[in-house]
């Protein structure tokens, strides 16, 4: 299984993501350059944090037009798993793969500290290794992480249970004090309708070792488990011709808790 990590010129969590995949879970990681038109057969894509193109205008606004993003968008539309972390989440929203937007923190200050997030849903490629309601500790580090969307979108997200991570306090409750940036309903991460595209502001890739914490490992282990069960996107499976067939993939996916 090959995981592609997109490198924009201003990405600065690309190496951390690489290490999380490579050392953290021992899977194959490759960098995908932003000017490239080729996903090199990757089975999943990570959009790392950073400041893609200096974050001028709006975070992620310019990144979404890069050549590689055209491929990533197509890949996501084919059902390929895509995870956007921090700036990656912002890019996914700008690209329209996820609804809503991330605006400046309500404090107007960059915020960097550990937060607690509650796993709200485990039947996604990035959360299956967790239990519903697990509370994870991960760092945040962002200036524009306040999730906003209009009421209709929020209702839809909640109604379809597409909020995947929520900021919570030590009791596991989405209290106001636990919300580091003013995000509506303490939203820390969401997924698209097909549940294959996930974006979140906290950094799971920074807590994948004994030395620094292990709460983020589950995100990457979940992905590998998902890929092993499904063999990648339907298209990849069809093209590869070996691996489990499309129907098998769908079945395997449906059985993921």
């Amino acid at each position: 299984m090959k995981i592609g990590i997109v490198r924009f010129p201003g990405s600065n969590c690309d190496q951390d993501c690489y290490r999380a995949v490579d050392e953290g879970i021992g899977a194959e990681a490759v960098y995908l350059w932003h000017k490239s038109h080729d996903l090199e057969g990757c089975h999943a894509i990570l959009l790392p944090g950073g400041f893609s193109y200096g974050d001028h205008l709006r975070a992620g606004a310019i990144a979404r037009f890069s050549p590689i993003m055209r491929e990533v968008i197509a890949f996501a539309r084919d059902g390929g798993p895509v995870l956007g972390i921090c700036n990656g989440f912002q890019i996914l929203c700008e690209a329209g793969l996820l609804p809503g937007a991330l605006v400046r923190n309500d404090s107007l200050r960059f915020r960097s500290h550990p937060v607690r997030v509650r796993v709200e849903r485990t039947d996604t490629p990035f959360t299956s290794k967790y239990d519903d309601g697990d509370v994870l500790r991960m760092p945040i580090a962002h200036g524009e992480g306040q999730y906003v969307a209009d009421q209709r979108v929020i209702d839809a997200l909640e109604g379809e249970r597409r909020v995947i991570f929520r900021y919570v306090d030590e009791l596991g409750q989405p209290a106001e004090e636990a919300n580091p940036n003013g995000s509506v309903r303490n939203i820390a991460g969401i997924c698209d309708e097909g549940r294959r595209v996930v974006g979140l502001m906290p950094h799971p890739e920074r807590v994948v070792s004994k030395l620094l914490g292990t709460d983020g490992l589950g995100v990457f282990h979940s992905l590998i488990e998902f890929l092993q069960a499904t063999g990648g996107t339907a298209k990849q499976v069809a093209e590869a011709g070996d691996g489990p067939g499309t129907e098998a993939a769908e079945a395997a996916e449906a059985s993921t808790p």
Binding site: A61, G100, A101, V103, S107, L108, Q146, V148, D150
Partner: protein
């Protein structure tokens, strides 16, 4: 012809505007009274070569929709001046 373009991007009604709010508070703290409904936005200015004002306008509208404003959270206004009509 070369046109002078100014684009003003502001948060859409109902979207949080922490920056505007903070400016409002700060002005209050500094002793300015009678300040209401502060909004903060962005400004983009440039010069654009186009055959006529209509062409310029439609091209700038596309730029705004595609890149300069995010319709999910922002609205924009465009002001176009041809050098002759531009105020000094």
């Amino acid at each position: 012809m070369r046109f002078e373009i100014e684009i003003r991007v502001t948060p859409r009604e109902g979207i949080v505007d922490p920056e505007g709010q903070t400016i409002g508070q700060a002005l209050g703290n500094l002793g300015y009274s009678g300040v209401h409904h502060v909004k903060a936005g962005r400004l983009v200015r440039f010069e654009l070569d186009a055959d006529d004002a209509d062409e310029a306008k439609s091209s700038v509208d596309r730029m705004c929709e595609e890149l300069i404003a995010n319709p999910v959270i922002e609205r924009y206004e465009v002001q176009i001046a041809s050098p002759e009509t531009a105020s000094p």
